[in-house]
Amino acid sequence: MNKRREKKEVVYDMLEALWASKSGLKPTHLIYKSNISHVRLKKHIDELLEKGLVKEGSSDGKPVYLITEKGVGFLKEYERMRKFVDSFGI
């Protein structure tokens, strides 16, 4: 059984999914791609919007979420930290 992911890992998975999509993701797609519940999505997306890591947009008249430049920066820094942590394995 998988261990419950930490908040930072969930946020990383959400931002990675948004970064990969380029044109943004609908909330349902984001739930599916980052493997979280609707309640958890709402909780995290509000925080990401507030911090400017994600912005809201629209595609075909439907709301989508897009990653901002600040979000890409966060994603890259998180990836660096993960590499460093993995290299020491402590």
């Binding site: 660096r80 930290m81 460093f84 290299s87 394995g89 402590i90």
Partner: protein
């Protein structure tokens, strides 16, 4: 008592290696501290502590060496000079050994997942004792350091076997090289082994720098 092991042509080069290794250590330590601030996980605070101790130990060693070499090389050594060199060297070597042992014990504690203030205070006590013993016989210090680094290397080998990444290999390579240098330093009375050990040790720290650069390049 044998005080200075470096051949004359290598005096200063060894200190340069030590200063550069100190800089690399504090860079790795600073990144660990950044991760601690970001994640709040205490193991990265301990990793920062270990590298900060290495930084301080190399700095102490380099300053000690430079002061001793200057006293010996810039004037005709008199009895007084030799006594001064002895005091400077012994004080410097003691702090170097204590700081390096504390660092290796912290790294070993991290590798073996030893936790708790009581055990850490016991390890600090052993560092103090082995640093004193190292003043009477330098080989004791290097034997203890090698033993501690052996467990650190085992941990990094396990980590590389699991992750199979270039970064994990670089960290494993770095600590195998640093471990090998301390094994060579056990035979510190041989000047050529002293030189070879320094090259090897510096190569180990360079690998840690390469790992940090690879991480930053992401």
């Amino acid at each position: 008592m044998h005080l200075i092991f470096s051949p004359i042509w290598f005096m200063g080069i060894d200190s340069t290696f030590e200063i550069l290794s100190a800089i690399i250590s504090i860079l790795v330590g600073a990144y660990s501290y950044k991760i601690y601030r970001s994640t709040g996980k205490r193991q990265y605070l301990y990793l920062f502590t270990a590298f900060a101790l290495i930084f301080l130990s190399f700095l102490t060693r380099a300053v000690t060496d430079i002061m001793a070499y200057n006293l010996l090389l810039e004037q005709m050594p008199t009895i007084n000079t030799i006594v001064n060199v002895q005091y400077v060297y012994l004080a410097g070597i003691y702090f170097y050994q204590f700081l390096m042992l504390s660092s290796c014990m912290t790294l070993a504690a991290l590798a073996l997942k030893i936790k708790g203030r009581k055990i850490m205070s016991l390890l600090t006590f052993f560092s103090l004792m082995f640093a004193i013993a190292g003043l009477y016989n330098y080989s004791i210090f290097h034997i203890v350091t090698s033993a501690l680094l052996f467990y650190v290397v085992l941990h990094f080998y396990g980590n590389y076997s699991e992750k199979k990444t270039c970064n994990a290999l670089m960290v494993l390579g770095a600590f195998v090289t640093i471990f090998a240098s301390h094994v060579i330093f056990i035979f510190i009375d041989n000047p050529m082994l002293y030189v070879f050990g320094h090259f090897l040790q510096f190569a180990g720290y360079l690998m840690l720098l390469v790992n940090l650069l690879l991480v930053r390049r992401t």
